[in-house]
Amino acid sequence: MATRTIQREKLPSLVPPPVAGIASLIIPGLGQVLARETRRGLLLFGSLVSITGLMVWRIYDLAHLEPGPLAMLRKAIARRPVFVVPMLIGIVALWLWNAWDAYRQAQPDVKGGAGIFVLVIVLFFTLGWQIGEIDLYKLGSELPDAWRPLSQVLWPWPAAVEREEEILSAGADILVPCDDNPPPPPEEVPGQPYLVATPTCGELSELGENNQIIPGTTLKLVGRGFAPNTETKIWWVDPLGNEFVVRQSGEYVVFQTDDTGSFEIELIMPYRLIPPSAAGPQIHRVEARQVVGTGPARPSEPLRISIARMIETIFLGMMATIFGIFFSIPISFLAAKNLMSGSWLTLAVYYFTRTILNIVRSIEPLIWAIIAVVVVGLGPFAGILALTIHSIAALGKLYSEAIESIDPGPIEAIQATGANRLQTIVYAVIPQMIPPFVSFSIYRWDINVRMSTVIGLVGGGGIGFVLIQYIKLLDYRAAGIAVWFIAITVAILDYVSAEIRQRFV
C-alpha cells in the first residue's frame, strides 16, 4: 500500500470502487462504510439526511396550503426562488459528490478530501440563514422609521425635566349663521392674551350630497399678548360646550407664535354636525391656546421613577449577593472535594451538593424570577429571591473551587508551630480564601445588579420593571432615561468591581 501519511493505515475496501459509488448513490454514506471509512460514511449519511429533512420542512412551511408535493415545490420556488433553487441544486450536488466520494474512498491509495464537508457546511449555513429569517434588506429599509423612537432612547434628556404648566388662552365668539347683529369683538385687556376674528359670524363647513366638504366661511384670526415662540393650537367650542382642535385639510391647526407673542392666520370654519332641533342662530367660539411652562424646572416623573428604581435595583442586587454569600459559604464547604473525600458518606454529600448546584445554576435567573413571582408576587422581593438562588449556586461552585485550590503548605507550617485547629484555620486557611472569596463576591454583585435590570422585565422589581412598562406605553423618552441609568450604573459598577478585585487578588 502506497500511503505516505503517518496516520493510521488505510484498510482495504470491502467492495470495488464502482459498487461503493452505487451504494452511496442509493444510501448516502453506505459506499464509504463499505470502503472501511465508517466515520466518514456516517457523517455524510447524517448530513444528507438532516439537510434533506430540513429542506422538506422548509418547503412545507413555505407552501403547506398546496395540495400535493409537486404543487408545494412549485409554490415554494415561486415564493423564495433565491433560497429553494440553490438549495435543491446543492442537495443534488452533494448526493452525487457523495457517490463519487465513495468511489474514490474505495480505491486503495486515496484518503481524506475535505471538500465535500465544505459543501455540507455551506448547505447548513444556507438553511440557517433561511430558518433564522435573516433579512438584511429589512434591517436597512426599516431603519429610517425606527429612527424617531431610537433617537428618543439615545437622547431622552429633554424629558428629564418638567415645569408647572399653565394654559394661556383667548377666544372670540362667532355667530352661526350670520344675521344683522354679529357679536362684537372681545375687549382687549392689557397683559392678557387677546384674539380677534374677522368676521365674527359665518357658515360652518358642510357635507355635500356626495360626502364632499363644502368649505365654510374663512375667518382671519389675529392674536396678541401670547407667549412668544410657543406652540399654539386653535380650538373650536360649539354651543353645547364640546371642544376640539380644529383640523385644516386633515392636519391640526398648530403653529408657533412670533417673537412678540402675536400671530395672524386664516381659518376655514370647521364642519360640525348640528342637530335639526338646534336650528337657528348659535354662538360658537374659536380659541387659541398655549401650554406654557412656568416656574423652575424640576425633575420629571420618569426621571424620579428611574432614579428610585435604579436605587432599588442596586440594593436588590446587593441583598441578593449578601444572601447568596451567606448561604453559599457553608454549602461551598460541602462541595469542596478536598474536604469531602474523607469517607464514602462525605463523598456522597459532595456529589449530591455538586449536582444540585449545577442544576440550580443552569437555570437562568429569569426563570427563577418567574417562579419567585408566582410564589411571592410582583416586586423586588421576587427579584431578590431569584437572584439569591442563582447566586448561591454560582458562588457555591466558585467558592468550593477556591477551597479546593488552597495550598496545603502553609497549613502544615502553621500546624508545625504547635497551633491548634482554630488557629490553623485563622492563620493558614482564611488568608488564602479571602482573596478569591472577595473577588468572586464583588463579581457576583456586579452580575446581580446587571441581572436585576433584566429580572424586572418579568416582574421582579427594579428598573427593568418600569423599563418594560415605558416600552409598552411607547414612551421612548422615559424608556431612554431608564436605559441610560442602567448603562451608567453598570459601567460604574464594572469599573469599581474591577478596581476592588485588583486590590484583593
Binding site: 503548605g409 507550617a413 502553621i414 508545625a416 508551630t417 497551633a419 493558614a428 488568608p431 488564602q432
Partner: protein, 261 residues
C-alpha cells in the same frame, strides 16, 4: 536525645514510604538525611513532629514518646520543634511580620491570637528574629513580595520564634540558588553551633552535606542504607554514593566549594 525506633509509614494507597527506620540523634547534632526524591526523607521529617502519622514504631524525644502524645501534648511538643520547608510555606498574602509571629501560636493565648493580637514582647522578639536573618526592613511587606531567599529567611525567623530545641528542615535550599543555599544553611549552622539547637535537615547536594553535616543517614526506598559521621562522608567513595543514589547517579558540585566528579 531523639530516638527513632522501627519507624514504618505506609500510606493509604499502599505506598511504603519508610520501612523499619531506626536511628538516634544526640542533642546539638546537625543530622543530614540524604537520598533521592521519593526515598522517604520528607515523610521521615514529618513523622518526627507527626504532621504525618507513623504507621508503626516509636519516636522518643528526651524521654517523651511523641508517637503516643495526645493532641494537647503534641502541640506542646511541636512548639519546641521548628520546621523549615522547601517551598517556605509562608502565608503569601499575610505580612512578613504576621508570618513570623505565627511561630508563637503554640505559646500565646489562643483566643487573643484569633484576633491577631500578640503580646508586645512577641512583636519585639519577631523584629529581633527578622533582624537576625537580616530582613527587618521587610517586616511590613507581603510575604509574596519577597525573593525566594528572603522568604526562606522568614521561614527561619518563624522557626526561631518557637525558641526551638530542634529544627526540622525539609530540603530548605532545594528551591534556591546555590549561593543562597550557603547563606540559609549558614544560619542553621549558626543556630546549631551557638545555641545548641539540634538540626535535622534533608539535603540533595553532597557538597552541602560534606560542608554542614555532623552526622549523615542515607535513605533509599524508605530504608536506611548509609550511616556516617562527618569524617565518613568526607571520605565517601563513589561506590557508597551510588549505593544511596542508585547506579545512574553522578556527583554534581554546588556553591563555592569544589566538588568531585
Amino acid at each position: 536525645m531523639l530516638e527513632v525506633k522501627h519507624l514504618t509509614k505506609i500510606y493509604e494507597d499502599g505506598t511504603v514510604a519508610l520501612r523499619d527506620v531506626s536511628f538516634t540523634v544526640e542533642d546539638g547534632e546537625f543530622l543530614v538525611v540524604i537520598g533521592l526524591s521519593g526515598s522517604g526523607k520528607s515523610t521521615l521529617l514529618r513523622c518526627i513532629n507527626r504532621l504525618i502519622e507513623p504507621t508503626e514504631g516509636q519516636i522518643i524525644w528526651n524521654g517523651i514518646d511523641i508517637t503516643a502524645a495526645d493532641p494537647a501534648q503534641l502541640r506542646e511538643i511541636r512548639r519546641q520543634i521548628g520546621m523549615i520547608f522547601q517551598q517556605f510555606n509562608l502565608v503569601k498574602r499575610s505580612s512578613v511580620l504576621t508570618n513570623v509571629l505565627a511561630g508563637r501560636l503554640g505559646y500565646v493565648n489562643p483566643w487573643a491570637s484569633l484576633l491577631h493580637r500578640f503580646p508586645k514582647e512577641d512583636i519585639e522578639m519577631a523584629m529581633q528574629a527578622l533582624e537576625r536573618v537580616g530582613i527587618a526592613d521587610q517586616a511590613h511587606k507581603r510575604a509574596d513580595e519577597l525573593s525566594g531567599g528572603q522568604q526562606q529567611r522568614v521561614g527561619i525567623a518563624r522557626a526561631l520564634m518557637q525558641q526551638p530545641k530542634m529544627i526540622l528542615a525539609d530540603e530548605p535550599v532545594a528551591s534556591l540558588d546555590p549561593v543562597l543555599a550557603h547563606s540559609i544553611l549558614g544560619y542553621l549552622e549558626q543556630l546549631n553551633q551557638e545555641e545548641g539547637i539540634t538540626v535535622i535537615c534533608s539535603l540533595h547536594f553532597l557538597d552541602l552535606v560534606q560542608r554542614y553535616a555532623t552526622k549523615v543517614i542515607g535513605l533509599r526506598d524508605g530504608r536506611i542504607v548509609y550511616r556516617g559521621t562527618r569524617e565518613d562522608i568526607r571520605r565517601m567513595t563513589d561506590e557508597e554514593f551510588k549505593e544511596i543514589y542508585g547506579e545512574e547517579a553522578v556527583r554534581v558540585s554546588v556553591g563555592p566549594r569544589e566538588g568531585g566528579a
